[in-house]
């Protein structure tokens, strides 16, 4: 701790020195420089993909780097417009009144990066393969598709077995990405997409370089090259920003933020995400199967204080985040009350309770420290078991062997996990399952959203878990950079519209 303080102090000092040296020696950064079409945009990211095969490999890092930039589906989402569904490889679509038939009009003039033209056949086989091959990511999203056909060269029709209002949204995900039929590209290290950028080089353990695809069907990308610089270490990332190695740094450490701000070359931005910090209770295991215990654990946490402690977080008042349909601010359903928590624990006969929190070791210690002391205050001894993510997947996710667990659920529209009793939450409530099924089956968006909100209220009332916070990561965006996206950057990073001003 001492060391850290010392370091922070010297960092501040140096930040100040830099500031003075900057103003003394260099010119002021051009406030509205001309966008340079030959520029390279360098973006610091923290998490690197393990390979480039987006069809078969999970992980938000892959979606962040490749979807919208390199690969595209028929439709995509606009994170900055509340995740609204917008056209991509389809120019328009119609949905039959019964919600079963989706007809897409294919965009003309689309080519893959190898030069070949996109055909309806490519679309049909891509989606059919994604449905049939269980090893393809999110294959289950297409399980409900009864048939995929192409009545003419510019139309693709998908028929569902039963209505699913989330289907279009599912097509914005990995299962909906379009690949060339019979492609022999080694997708683990190379690509052949239709996006505005192609993968130029991948230096594993270092960076991924994208270059503008000149044959792109839409408006050409604003920069000639994008370098995604993978720098996991926070202080290294800060140094990279301070010394001008990167134009944009995502997920910066708020404690080091002042150093970056001190350069005067960056503005700090914070957008919305669907990245939910969820403290899962093993609903199937005593004593957490007792709702009084679950409620007590929620009452013991001061969520506002936690968000302040974490800095890059805000309270998440319910299982659904603001960017998703069905969101309601459920503040007040539970508010910090350690006295009541102690009472409830006593009622449940859970005095001297000792619980284990299984948490992947990638999360900062601030969170666990906070929880340990909050629970100690109500007489619950919390043991923290740090594991690596792979172990977490086996122990918690697959074997459900845990009391409490914490991970960040980054996916949008994943409320279905509360309606699935086999999911690791182990939350089993017939009413929630029924409401969720109805919300999918209806063709009316408003009605669907209302049903979800109703289900979310029950999940919250039942204290199925504690929604600790919504991530609000900060990004340092260079003053030379324009049109950088804001929301959901941890899962989508569409960079085609970004421009960099010449010096």
């Amino acid at each position: 701790m001492l060391r850290r303080t010392a370091l922070a102090t010297s960092a501040l000092l140096i930040g100040a020195l830099l500031l003075t040296s900057c103003t003394a020696s260099s010119n002021d950064p051009a406030p509205s420089g001309e966008a340079d079409p030959n520029a390279t945009l360098t973006v610091r990211l923290s998490l690197e993909p393990s390979n480039l095969d987006i069809r078969h490999t999970s992980g938000a890092a892959l979606e962040q780097a490749l979807i919208d930039n390199v690969y595209q589906g028929l439709v995509t989402r606009d994170g900055d417009q509340n995740n609204e569904i917008v056209p991509a490889l389809a120019t328009e679509w119609t949905v039959s009144p019964d919600g079963l038939t989706y007809s897409f009009t294919l965009r003309q003039g689309v080519t893959f990066h190898d030069g070949s033209a996109l055909t309806a056949d490519d679309v049909v086989t891509s989606l059919q393969t994604a449905k049939d091959d269980a090893t393809i990511q999110n294959s289950a999203d297409l399980a409900n598709v009864a048939s995929i056909s192409s009545p003419d060269a510019s139309t693709v029709v998908l028929t569902l077995a039963k209505p699913n209002i989330d289907f279009l949204f599912a097509l914005t995900g990995r299962a909906g990405l379009i690949f060339k039929n019979g492609d022999t590209t080694a997708l683990q290290t190379a690509e052949n997409g239709t996006g505005p950028f192609r993968v130029e080089t991948w230096n594993t353990g270092q960076s991924l370089t994208l270059s503008r695809y000149d044959g792109y069907w839409g408006e050409r990308a604003g920069v000639a090259q994008v370098v995604l610089d993978y720098i996991p270490d926070q202080s290294a990332a800060t140094n990279a920003a301070v010394s001008g190695d990167v134009d944009v740094a995502l997920e910066i450490d708020p404690e080091l933020q002042s150093q970056i701000e001190g350069t005067g070359n960056f503005t700090i931005e914070s957008g919305l995400t669907t990245d939910k910090g969820i403290l899962a209770f093993n609903n199937q295991r005593a004593p957490l199967s007792d709702q009084r215990v679950r409620e007590a654990l929620r009452l013991a946490v001061d969520h506002n204080a936690l968000a302040e402690t974490l800095i890059t977080a805000q309270p998440l008042n319910g299982p659904i985040p603001p960017l998703d349909p069905g969101y309601e601010d459920l503040t007040g359903s539970i508010s910090y009350n350690p006295d009541r928590a102690r009472e409830l624990l006593a009622e449940a006969g859970a005095d001297n309770l000792s619980l284990t929190l299984t948490i992947p070791n990638v999360y900062p210690g601030t969170l666990t420290t906070f929880l340990v002391s909050a629970y100690a205050d109500v007489g619950v001894k919390l043991q923290v078991k740090q594991v690596d993510f792979s172990t977490w997947l086996t122990d918690v996710y697959t074997n459900h062997d845990y009391d409490l667990s914490f991970v960040r659920h980054v996916e949008a529209r994943d409320f279905g996990n509360w309606a699935d009793p086999t999911y690791y939450f182990g939350f089993d409530n017939a009413e929630v399952q029924s409401l969720y099924a109805q919300s999918l089956a209806t063709t009316d968006a408003q009605q669907s959203s209302d049903l979800l909100a109703e289900a979310a209220q029950i999940v919250d009332d039942q204290d199925a878990a504690d929604w600790l916070f919504l991530s609000a990561p900060r990004a340092a965006v260079g003053t030379n950079v324009a049109n950088f996206p804001k929301n959901s950057l941890n899962v989508r990073l569409p960079l085609a519209g970004v421009t960099v001003a010449s010096e």
Partner: protein, 316 residues
């Protein structure tokens, strides 16, 4: 000498075989598997099972080991589960960062350790020598990570002389930039390792000063310092070679840490990422290569010892 070398070589091979078995078994004890990671948090158990099969993970363990060992004899360390590329290819690529880094660190360690170790022993009754010794003691206790951060703050962020992190994307095609990128990491490892070496050299030198042959040489008219340099140091040199062998292992470990801190795409960073991804065929190949490297260093040190020290040769 030949017989000794052959026996020693036999031991080296035996060491590698034992290491390979240990590496293989110990990695299998790790919980979690790559199929699960590839599947992620939205995959059903059926999907994970399908992935496991497609990745070839349901082959019996003994068969996996036999295939791996068989490949070793053909110089094939196996294939990465995640990227499908041969482990050897990736090792060669990453070694282009790690080996130069280790070599530069070693040079820094030698420059810091040997002259200053001797100086500190000679000046043990002066304030300077004591300061050197105390300073080395403090430096040797510094965690590599902290030393690295301090160097970055001063030389990269403050003075702006050297890059704070990263390696040029062109690699060694841009030799100047590549060299500059390795300076701070190498100094970080080298200074800490050099401080340890300094303390060793100091005590070995002090011991030599008290030896009869140094006293005899001094009695014959050489100054104490010259007697030490002419007669004492060659003997000290022998034990330094042994210590250096051990330090190379220390440098490799230091490189793993430092590559994280400086975001250098070397063997250490690759290893950490691959363990997290449970890409076991790749991890075992990488570990075996590193182990093999350290064992070979030990082998060379032993042979050198023999060659340099006539007493050991006569004994055999």
């Amino acid at each position: 000498m030949t017989r000794y070398a052959l026996t020693r070589l036999g031991l080296l091979v035996l060491g590698l075989v034992v290491a390979s078995a240990l590496i293989f078994v110990s990695l299998r004890v790790l919980p979690g598997d790559v199929a699960q990671l590839v599947g992620g948090t939205q995959a059903s158990p059926d999907q994970v099972a399908a992935l496991r099969e497609s990745l070839g993970l349901n082959i019996p363990l003994w068969q996996q080991y036999v295939e791996w060992i068989g490949g070793l004899f053909r110089g094939d360390l196996g294939t990465s589960l995640l990227t499908g590329t041969p482990v050897v290819t990736e090792l060669v690529a990453k070694a282009q960062v790690t080996l130069p880094l280790a070599a530069m660190s070693l040079i820094v360690a030698l420059v810091v350790g040997i002259p200053f170790g001797v100086l500190s022993a000679l000046g043990r009754r002066h304030a300077g020598g004591t300061a050197l010794s105390v300073g080395a003691q403090a430096l040797a206790a510094v965690p590599v990570v902290w030393a690295g951060m301090m160097l970055v703050v001063v030389f990269a962020v403050w003075l702006g002389w050297l890059p704070p992190q990263g390696f040029p994307r062109a690699g060694w095609n841009d030799p100047g930039a590549a060299f500059r990128a390795l300076i701070l990491p190498a100094v970080t490892i080298g200074v800490v390792e050099g401080a340890m070496l300094l303390r060793f050299v100091r005590s070995a030198t002090l011991q030599a000063i008290g030896q009869d042959y140094v006293r005899t040489a001094a009695a014959k008219g050489l100054t104490r310092t010259r007697a030490l340099l002419r007669h004492g140091l060659p003997n000290v040199g022998l034990s330094i070679i042994t210590v250096l062998g051990l330090q190379i292992a220390g440098i490799i470990v230091g490189a793993v840490v430092i590559e994280q801190l400086f975001t250098l795409p070397g063997v250490g960073r690759m290893l950490v990422a691959d363990v997290a991804a449970r890409d076991l065929p790749k991890v075992q190949g990488e570990l075996l290569a590193v182990t093999g490297f350290v064992l070979v260093v030990g082998f060379v040190v032993d042979l050198l010892h023999r060659l340099i020290d006539p007493r050991q040769r006569e004994a055999s």
